[in-house]
Point group: D2
Chain length 445, copies 4
């Protein structure tokens, strides 16, 4: 059986991930993501009504025209988790394929929300929920799709494995190796080792942090760090605000719990806060079901007024704006544009890292400056990455022992640390270690 | 009563701390430290036999000749904790003063070890142990010396407070605010707030990290980070080595415990490992009393041979050399100069940060390169600082409300973040906020 | 005669410079500047109609209320050169003082332009032009004001020296030591050395780059660098654009000349380009009088259309926008908002350095990204600083041998390199080396 | 005719360059270099007596065993210029090939010096001098070797071009595009453009600086910068020292000339200074023939004594040690180990950049610290790189329009900027843009 891998998007950038694997006549697509920075650099673009070709030209979504070179039928579209760089192009591209979207429940719920907002294209693909640990038959020639549980900065992330008669294709985006992930099960390293023993034909790896040394800490380390920060504010009698990635349910959960530990009522504020946490609550993961969530601008304003009236020292608003986005809630609070009044000594906790790009750094700098002008005290970088660093890559290679490797989720400079590591482990560039770019098709066997 | 503060050393550098407070006729000296980098830049200098004046000329120890301008009698010499930059000049300078050395038991034991090695000067000062929370009368005019418990990267650190009729002088070197310090009690913030209410005439602050934002995490955060790293190696069947600051007893304790948790026998190797941990064990702090410690070069070599014979996968040697020091054990292991054989996949954990100075960075880089050439996998920076960052400084000012502040333990550039913060809190440079340099005397009232 | 120096603004920042020197009853004010970043962090503020007190509260202009503590009459207000951080508050503050504005012709012309736009306050101070090398009597007690020629990133910069019976007060802002400044005379080091021999009571120094090692290169080095860049494009047959600081007349002159050397017509485009270069042309400095300048938005658009029609390969537009300012011409060109069409291979030369602050860095990054999306090739950092680095400071101290020094034009962290240097030369902090902050008065004798 | 390119060394590092081109049965080897850092990380290794296989194992010289997979006869070994990373392995590897060494006169002289010191292997290859612009027939099947003049940080650098019936193979290591190179002719861009029009089958490019934006300045820019620095010291009446790369003849020439311009006698001191400058003088390039050069340790010491006796203010010693190498002359002077006495105010000019690697940075830091402890004033980074930055790469692609490209002289991370640039110009990774590693053979047609 011929195995081909089309590296469609996310092989020259972090963002707009899309990879297709053909095993004989059966094709599975992994991820269909958006590169948001390619949208935001333009002023005032609304993607909902845009045509996919325009978004492809902008570099915002994967250029899936290479799919016509793959001979076979798409049997499934498999988003690995709910981040936009993995699901954000489904509403623009999936309608071209007669195949269901298969994902974990949380991911499918988020996909569902995304396609509801689409204005240009009709969306008729089936949405199929499958849990980590489960498998599904693909086509009629002996292929199976398995979801292996992994750990990432969003819940219910999986690594899909396509078992073919030629060996397993492991699609390794996105994960870290976390044995204490706060929500959900630890990464299933036993299963990876087992698959390794069964034989891995190809491993596609998440190289986001491949140039970073060491091991990515567990979410539990971030949790203890965050606990240390919030508990240290226990005696403070003014405002405490926190912000984090809205999709980072485990982190939001920790914030909620620690807020209560220090006798404050947590409230989630901001549209995306409500979207992600509301979804988590609805599907019944281990998430505080009794937390208030407010998403609409007007309701947020009313809530902030209520907080001010009741005494802001009794609350811990968890808000959007961790990157200093000009229109996000925390930035508007920093500008004094809301009913919430900051006073000298008030605390602002960024449980997030600035995504290292000058635009973000400039915006976040401004937000912190504005907060500082009101006397607020800022705590930054209470965070751990969701992606493997080099020792995680080493561990994965050791577990899977793949015959072929394809670095992904970076550009060539980002792959370089991974290539060095894999070369040290005996892989050879151009032979069994395939650095590639968007739009290529790699013959694996 | 006249209060004067002589800022003798450590006001233009991190290192060789020394400060004298005169209250009327009674003088207390806080710290007598060594600036080790001023020694090491010269080849092959042995300080044990050197005269203090030569070491003063080199900038290695405080120039205490300004003491002759202070009218009064030295009643006590008070090292705040056992780091060399606070006790390393006692053997060279204390003999000039007819006063006891007063410190916590662990500190006094370390001072005792230091003066035993001195070859040039006789040392006849009394060594007096005093616990955190205790007080001692100083002179006959109503002064009291109190030890307030603080938390730092060494156990039994205190902040001495000289209570005078004019108010308290709080000597704030070195600490972080840690509520979960792994060994010993949390920082005594209640007592600081109480002293603040009683009235603080002057606060001398540890500005090591004054240009760093946020809060220094608790030792417990480093512990959880370290746990995450070592537990992730549980299944590895080769060598695991760790290195940290020998004086960092809490960290060494965590390393010992986690080694045992993953079924390895910890062994402390290296002269300073034996010195500090042996002292900790002897004075009966909460430290594993049954761990093997080996300090002499020949015994270390024999121990390494034994480890190789018994199977290195059964041990976790905790060794000196975290800064890549050319002659330290870990560096010698990296060069293949010992009986210990590293193999591809073996793990080396640096539970320490490179002290940010190009010499260290160069040496540590070389050590890691050499380890990498043998296939070792390196985990770095599993560490938290022992010094307050800006939010800790904010909290201390809020607790103490001092009338005057003197930034210390940095140079002027290092003070600048603190000056900005204190200025924002209403202090004025040159009036109640005193940036100073080595060799000055400040009239406080 | 009592000498006092009021350090009013620019002693905690780079920006809003203002210093007053009182010699007996006679006061001279040096500089009245604006801190533009304090204005720009707020959205949509127009300063022209604002009251000075509001601008003081924002930290945008100097808080000159300390002037009431200086007993004496202001005899002159002396802007050292035409940059906004030195003249930008004259329109808001000068009307309070019954004193002429005394400056070099170019500086006075720029002040004149500034006050014309003021809408809130009337401006009735005399504008007096005085050339470098000339002197003016101040008051009736033997004081003389002298302008010593210096070299900076704007033409006709001087260092004013107030000769008093007690010695000279040398106000050293802003300069580098440049023996080949492209326009105008070299820095007058002979006169500085002479003044040094006569006796300098106090030297106020420009510490902008005091933490930078080495010597600031001459403008001639930037010129040769720029020549190398532009000559290397000689054979290119598409667009070449350049941007630099509009006020940097020497640089603009070099750009004009090299444009012609490679057979292109230079055109200055943008409001501030027209203001500064137009002024330079009008007062008759060594500047190409025949270059076209276009300042108004509509005229610029027409000019760009003309350039496109005539063939952009025949022109070298010199435009505003070197910091990536969102509304500046170059940024608008990058966004495709003008008639000028960029094509792959077109060249953009930034003869400027990004002012190192995350906001600027983010904006400039975006501008370059947008240029790159159109295929433009970007050449950055063809520039030298206008401010002394450490070896320049060393040379100035050697020439002037001042009795007292006051570091200025930075915050405390920025002063630190200067304090280290001066300390190494024998000065002592708090005795003859005065680090200070805004709003202080220093008694010099 | 089959064309194959063996990428033997320097494709995973900067250092130990070696590439072989096979055209039919005829093979030409370009460069045989040394990776010095792989030697220096070990203590006390003397390479002169070592076997090539040991040096290959260390990664110090190219692993040329892949040559056995190339079917054909080596007709020439062509070092492109005299830097060690291009000629340093000739003494270890060339004897295995029955082929002459063909290079420019200066390069051949340096090769000759290298092989004289070899102790392990006999060297019998012919040394053939060929000037830039000349050609040589290779084999009997229509291949010609041409030397195109290029500009680099050493004189007489060329880019060899192997003209084959299938098109030209242009070996582009090492160069910058310099139209005013101080010594020798400008880069021959006309010839490159001509070759481009004739048809380039493959271009192997020097990617050292491929991640750096902009254009590498001309040596003339460094010269003007250096002139500015040295002229600014004209009035100084103490010592002035300078250091630069010994092999950088143009820079040494500038130093000599500017020394004389400020009325000082230049003297070249240090073994490698004598080697390179002596060679330059001997072969009659445009170099001051009357400058004194001293290479032996004892003679250097005598010369320094003479300088001290005659008055150090009359000399400008140009010495080795620009990287802070522990045993180099400048470092020994800094340690006070020579007869030369530094005094406060003495100047040290580093006309070189620290090679950006922590080991060098640590050593240079120490050297500067030691100089500073004696009061010396240090001027650093008076330098320009010898390698193309991105705009140079753009220009070369535009001139040559090659069918295939192979990035070289870096590791994969270092190639990444080049791959981005080439991709933007229409090349495709894996098709006509070949990133490779050491030991590979690429079929070009």
């Amino acid at each position: 059986m011929e195995i081909e891998i089309a590296t469609i998007g996310g092989y020259e950038e972090v963002g707009r991930q899309m990879t297709a694997v053909r095993a004989g006549n059966d094709i599975v697509i992994f991820d269909m993501g958006l590169n948001l920075s390619k949208v935001l650099i333009h002023d005032n673009i609304q993607t909902e009504g845009m045509h996919s070709l325009d978004l492809i030209d902008m570099g915002a979504i994967p250029d899936d025209r290479v799919m016509s070179d793959l001979e076979g039928d798409v049997q499934a579209i498999v988003p690995t988790h709910g981040h936009l760089d993995h699901i954000g192009a489904i509403s623009k591209l999936a309608h071209r394929y007669d195949a269901p979207i298969v994902g974990t429940p949380f991911t499918i719920e988020l996909v569902s929300g995304e396609v509801e907002e689409e204005q240009k294209f009709d969306f008729n693909n089936d949405l199929v929920k499958m849990e980590a640990g489960e498998t599904m038959t693909i086509g009629d020639h002996g292929c199976e799709l398995e979801f292996v549980n992994v750990t990432h900065s969003i819940i219910q992330a999986i690594n899909p494995v396509l078992h073919t008669p030629e060996g397993a294709i492991v699609y390794g985006l996105d994960k870290r190796i976390d044995h204490t992930p706060v929500i959900g099960d630890p990464i299933d390293m036993d299963r990876f080792r087992e698959i390794g023993r069964e034989g891995v034909l190809c491993y596609i790896e998440d190289c986001t942090n491949a140039n970073k040394k060491g091991r990515t800490p567990s979410e539990n380390v971030a949790r203890e760090h965050l606990r240390d920060v919030l508990y240290s504010m226990e005696d403070y009698d003014g405002a405490i605000l926190a912000s984090t990635f809205s999709s980072h349910i485990a982190r939001v959960k920790s914030l909620i719990e620690f807020a209560r530990d220090i006798d404050r009522t947590p409230i989630l504020l901001g549209r995306s806060m409500e979207t992600y946490s509301g979804t988590a609550k609805r599907i019944g993961v281990d998430f505080p079901s009794d937390v208030e969530m407010v998403g609409y601008r007007r309701s947020i304003e009313q809530t902030l007024e209520r907080i001010m009236n009741d005494g802001k020292e009794n609350f811990l608003p968890i808000v959007t704006g961790h990157q200093g986005e000009p229109r996000a809630l925390l930035t508007r609070m920093a500008r004094g544009e809301t009913a919430f009044e900051l006073e000298p000594g008030d605390k602002v906790v960024y449980s997030a890292r600035v995504i290292p790009e000058p635009t973000n750094e400039g915006q976040r700098y401004q937000a912190e400056k504005l907060l500082g002008m009101q006397g607020a005290r800022v705590y930054s970088d209470i965070h751990v990455s969701g992606h493997l660093c080099q020792e995680g890559h080493y561990t994965m290679l050791d577990a899977l022992q793949p015959e072929n490797i394809i670095p992904a989720h970076q550009d060539l400079g980002g792959f370089s640390g991974y290539v060095d590591l894999a070369s040290d482990q005996g892989y050879t560039l151009g032979r069994d270690l395939h650095t590639t770019s968007n739009g290529n098709i790699i013959q694996i066997n």
